[in-house]
């Protein structure tokens, strides 16, 4: 069995008396795709928010490769290797597709004021390198010919695909994807799932929130079913799908 990349223990979060996370624990292994399913309000997105510093949990621990995650600000969480996408699409609509990818690269020399003015060549060289890798990433997912279009000119499905590429480009090792295929056309779903399936080969692990059970079964190694802020069941996609508690919760 592969070793654990992320270990989460008994996360707690209350919002005005509602227990959004009620002692939620789980483990994400290296190079694995973990599905996270559960009814609306089960706490899935809150879990992502807690891991990435957007929400401060009231209790519990989370360790990413041994480093404590809880209490970090969002940008620090991203820098140590935990990046995410959002349920509502977040892209810089008025920048080009390529720029959207470029802006996510980590450790850019040209993001330091000193370098901008006193080491322009270093910046330019690095920028040229980033541009190549960004083009490469876009090529892989079939967005290469759109690279100079504004992000807002893409179709909804393409925008979702782009936000996945951006998340990958942050260099993070653990990608938390919040409903990456919700609301898009079937053929685009296939392209996005294909891209997700390729992530472990790059050394990435993925946590995937999705309501589309078909998509979950296609790409996930394991699935965690969550309800009312806690883990109800865990196993292979088949096992979880046939778990009576899961069936019951989804029928409610």
């Amino acid at each position: 069995m592969k070793s654990a990349m992320l270990e989460v223990e008994r996360l707690e979060k209350r919002f005005d008396g509602v227990r959004a996370l009620a002692g939620f624990s789980c483990t994400v292994r290296e190079q694995e795709i973990l599905g996270l399913i559960g009814p609306n309000g089960a706490g899935k997105t809150t879990f992502f928010n807690a891991l990435t510093g957007f929400v401060r949990p009231d209790g519990g621990q989370a360790a990413f490769r041994g480093q404590a995650l809880i209490g970090l600000t969002p940008y620090k969480a991203a820098r140590i290797g935990v990046a995410r996408t959002f349920q509502i699409l977040r892209l810089i609509r008025r920048l080009s597709v390529l720029e959207n990818v470029l802006l996510t690269f980590p450790n850019q020399a040209g993001e330091r004021l000193r370098n901008v003015f006193f080491r322009p060549w270093t910046c330019r060289r690095q920028e040229a390198g980033s541009r190549k890798s960004a083009e490469g990433l876009l090529e892989e997912v079939g967005l290469a010919e759109k690279r100079d279009d504004l992000a807002e000119a893409l179709s909804y499905g393409q925008q979702k695909l782009l936000s996945l590429v951006c998340c990958l480009a942050t260099g993070a090792e653990l990608l938390l994807l919040d409903e990456p295929v919700a609301g898009i056309a079937p053929e685009m779903i296939e392209r996005i799932l294909e891209a997700i399936r390729g992530l472990p080969r790059r050394g990435k692990s993925v946590v995937l929130i999705e309501h589309n059970i078909g998509a979950i079964t296609q790409v996930c190694d394991r699935v965690v079913f969550m309800d009312a802020g806690a883990k109800v069941s865990e196993g292979t996609p088949e096992e979880v799908r046939n778990d009576p508690r899961v069936i019951e919760a989804y029928l409610d």
Partner: protein
């Protein structure tokens, strides 16, 4: 002729001011009403150093930039933690405090009487005294401000600023230290405003608090908005338009009392008109549109 040159020098000073505010307001999406305060602090620092210690121009300039930059950080670090409207209010407070210090710390600033008799500057033996000299000086500094601004906004640093303007949540999520970017650009902007202040102090050779009030801040914001926030040349166009247009009123033969009031009405009217029909300004493409939802 003198008059035309005077207008051109003023345009140059406002180009520097609005280019610097554009970095903060146009590219980063932070509306600061403290810009006249930084402009004023720059002017006072240079005037005091020149009057009391006969410090050469270039040294006054550097000290004014540095001190105003530090002030920018002092103001920026606490106020940039708060968002949008609250940030506007915080900078407004800074502006009011700055003017009241200029008015009331009489021993240092001369209070409402101001500081008269600021000497003519000299740079490497070039004595700057005529309008033409000042026009050359202000032209050079304006070009420098534009160059700095261009360098900045076309770099990855500038790309991060635009990301913050468009979607702060996304900027954080992809690992950008949003607070650090905001403080840095605020400091650069304050330092640049100080340059305009220094030139103004030497040029007019007299400064008093009335030149650095909140009205002045709003005037600079109007230049940025009308010219086109978030575009490189927008502030230049805005400065030309807003400085020249009211001057044209002079030639309409109105009594001076009426003309002065008409000028304010004109600014207000223009600002409202632009907000309604062309919020992106003359050259702008995008700034100040609806922001994306917060997380």
């Amino acid at each position: 002729m003198e008059y035309v040159l005077h207008i051109l020098v003023l345009i140059g000073i406002y180009v520097v001011l609005s280019v610097s505010l554009n970095l903060v307001a146009g590219y980063t999406g932070l509306i600061s009403i403290a810009h006249a305060a930084f402009y004023g602090v720059g002017a006072y620092v240079a005037a005091l150093m020149a009057l009391n210690w006969h410090v050469p121009f270039w040294l006054c300039l550097l000290c004014a930039i540095a001190l105003t930059g530090v002030l920018g950080a002092v103001v920026g670090i606490p106020s940039l933690r708060i968002r949008d409207d609250y940030f506007v209010v915080a900078t407004f407070a800074v502006q009011v405090i700055a003017v009241s210090i200029m008015n009331n710390w009489t021993d240092l600033t001369g209070g409402p009487m101001g500081l008269p008799g600021i000497p003519q500057p000299e740079i490497l033996g070039w004595r700057i005294s005529s309008h033409v000299d000042y026009l050359v000086l202000v032209g050079l500094l304006g070009a420098l401000a534009l160059w700095v601004s261009r360098r900045l906004v076309q770099s990855p640093f500038g790309r991060a600023l635009k990301t913050i303007r468009e979607d702060e949540v996304l900027a954080q999520a992809v690992g950008k230290n949003v607070a650090a970017f905001k403080v840095l650009v605020f400091v650069v902007s304050a330092g640049m405003a100080a340059v305009a202040g220094v030139v103004y102090a030497y040029y007019i050779s007299f400064i008093d608090p009335t030149s650095f009030t909140v009205m002045e801040s709003i005037f600079i914001i109007s230049i940025v908005i009308i010219g086109g926030a978030g575009s490189l040349w927008g502030p230049v166009v805005g400065a030309v338009v807003l400085v020249t247009l009211p001057e044209l009123l002079r030639f309409m033969g109105l009594p001076s009392g009426v003309a002065a009031n008409l000028r304010q009405i004109l600014y207000g009217g223009a600002l409202v008109a632009f907000m309604m029909w062309r919020p992106q300004g003359l050259l702008g493409k995008c700034a100040f549109e609806r922001k994306s939802a917060k997380a």
